[in-house]
């Protein structure tokens, strides 16, 4: 329950001896004849930041929607902390500790920053037992903007608010859906610092999807690459960058 100190440098938490926080087992999803996600197996360990990248249409968003219960998987299973969450609805998955941000609907514009976080924080027993609203605002560098109406926020602050909202559910695993899209360089580095801090001081486990390859490579401990629905490689950033399959997916 210690309040995070944003100035503390990130200290990677070693994976615990227990099982993975998130385990995808041969997950597939077909839309008609098209296999948007094809037999993807993926593990995510405690305190790890995993980047998920891939060219447009590779199935990243679909996989994300399967994990968070927006779409059910056609086959395969999703296991969170050893519990099978396949087929559960989004709100039930959130209550079990997996929280995601939304690309375009991440904040509720008419409410103030504080009211946005409060609305979510008060919604479930799990979130009320977690960190206080003030802690969340401070962690996301929003304490000074608490009384600002969310619709008036600059882009970067709005993005951090959407992360604060996701954190208000007191998650074990934070899934960020393209948190850098449309941000300028300064705002991008603010979000990256925030994610590092969350891992560093809270030990948060993060699944990170974005198009900004450079940022993903800089931030993540491990990167998985999707192409045409299949996972083509998975490993530390410096290895993935050199992987011929990855180069082919992006250039070929």
């Amino acid at each position: 329950m210690s309040a995070p100190t944003p100035s503390v440098p990130p200290a990677p938490t070693p994976p615990r001896a227990g099982g993975p926080v998130l385990h995808l087992r041969s997950v597939s999803r077909a839309f008609g004849g098209l296999k948007a996600v094809d037999d993807v197996t993926l593990e995510l360990h405690e305190g790890e930041i995993l980047g998920l990248i891939g060219p447009n249409g590779a199935g990243k968003s679909t996989l994300f929607n399967i994990i968070s219960g927006v779409h059910p998987a056609s086959t395969g299973s999703v296991v969170l902390d050893g519990r099978d969450i396949t087929g559960l609805s989004t709100h039930a998955i959130t209550r079990r500790g997996l929280s995601r941000t939304l690309q375009d609907h991440g904040v509720f514009a008419p409410l103030t920053v504080r009211a946005n976080v409060e609305a979510v924080h008060g919604a479930t027993r799990r979130s009320r037992a977690g960190r206080s609203v003030q802690d969340l605002l401070e962690a996301c560098m929003l304490a000074d903007l608490a009384d600002t109406v969310a619709g008036d926020l600059p882009h970067g602050c709005e993005r951090r608010l959407s992360i604060a909202i996701a954190l208000a559910t007191s998650p074990r695993l934070l899934c960020l859906d393209e948190p850098l899209s449309g941000l300028n360089e300064e705002e991008t580095s603010e979000v990256l610092d925030l994610v590092r801090d969350l891992r560093g001081s809270w030990g948060m486990t993060v699944l990170f999807i974005d198009h900004n390859m450079r940022a993903v490579m800089r931030l993540c401990d491990r990167v998985a690459v999707l192409d045409r629905g299949r996972k083509i490689c998975d490993g530390p950033p410096h290895e993935v960058q050199k992987d011929p399959r990855m180069i082919e997916a992006y250039l070929g």
């Binding site: 799990r126 600002t148 909202i165 559910t169």
Partner: protein, 327 residues
Amino acid sequence: MRSSEWLVPVGVTAAAVVIGLVTGLGDGVGALVVPWICIHALLAMAMRLVMQVGEINLAVGAFYGIGAYTAAQMNLLLEAPLLVSVVAGGLLAGAAALVFGGLVLRVSGAAFILVSFAANEVLRLTLTKTEWVGGNSGLVGVFADPRAVVTAMVIVTGVVALLLVMLERSRWGRQFAVVENKPLLASCAGINPRSVKLIALVASGVICGVAGGLFAHYSSVVAPPDFSYMISISVLAFVMIGGRDHLLGAVVGAAVLTYLTEEMRMFGAYEPVIYGGALMIAMVLMPKGLVGAAHDVLRRVTDSRRGSSSDPTGEPSPAPREKERAS
């Protein structure tokens, strides 16, 4: 803005209590219109409550009817006091809303509108065929002191308005707003949109039932035609014309339209035509309703007064100020 939001319900409640005491004592025009304004305001607030979670419930008439029949039977069979009968009506209507919502809230939008409309008519037609509640002619002879009933109506309306404003400003109210406007965000926040909608529907049902119980004691007769879908449609009109964005809109819409209906009786056969025409004109010219339009006018006046020295356009400009603070 914040303080004015508090002033309104407190003002309405105070005014309601005063009017209640005055009309309870006297018997002018108010004694004729005020009871109906109260019933319609209660129903309009109940309608708006479900609209706040993004659904339009055309079964308002059914819950109103359940409350009225329950309270009437309590009075006729058990000779229960006014408040006991009314509370029983509210509880039974709330229970009916719980069953209805539990079965039906898996659908939303147009499907929910149709299902609720159908439910209203099923109940009304069932009542016409049910002999132990009087069939087509309904229940007759509910006895109560008219002054006590009218006073109770006005006070209940004020109290319900106050409770609803408190609800709106509470944790639940904020969840309502998120469920209505961003259902996916609500789910991602661990909120089950269906349970939030069910809570709103049950609370709305209780209010409708209470309105029905008061109506039964006021009119002393309850019959199926009083609870057709037409009452639901009228109540929807009250909310839309008053302005759905503010609780006061429901009350104002109910008051204005109820009063006008009374005044328009002199047009005889043309009454529905004039009424319908007024509805259409009002909706097209004032999409935010009477309260929304009044609010806009007020804001323009205060802005031009405040901004005449610094801001020549007189337009509100909150965004740049917030951005300054942000950077």
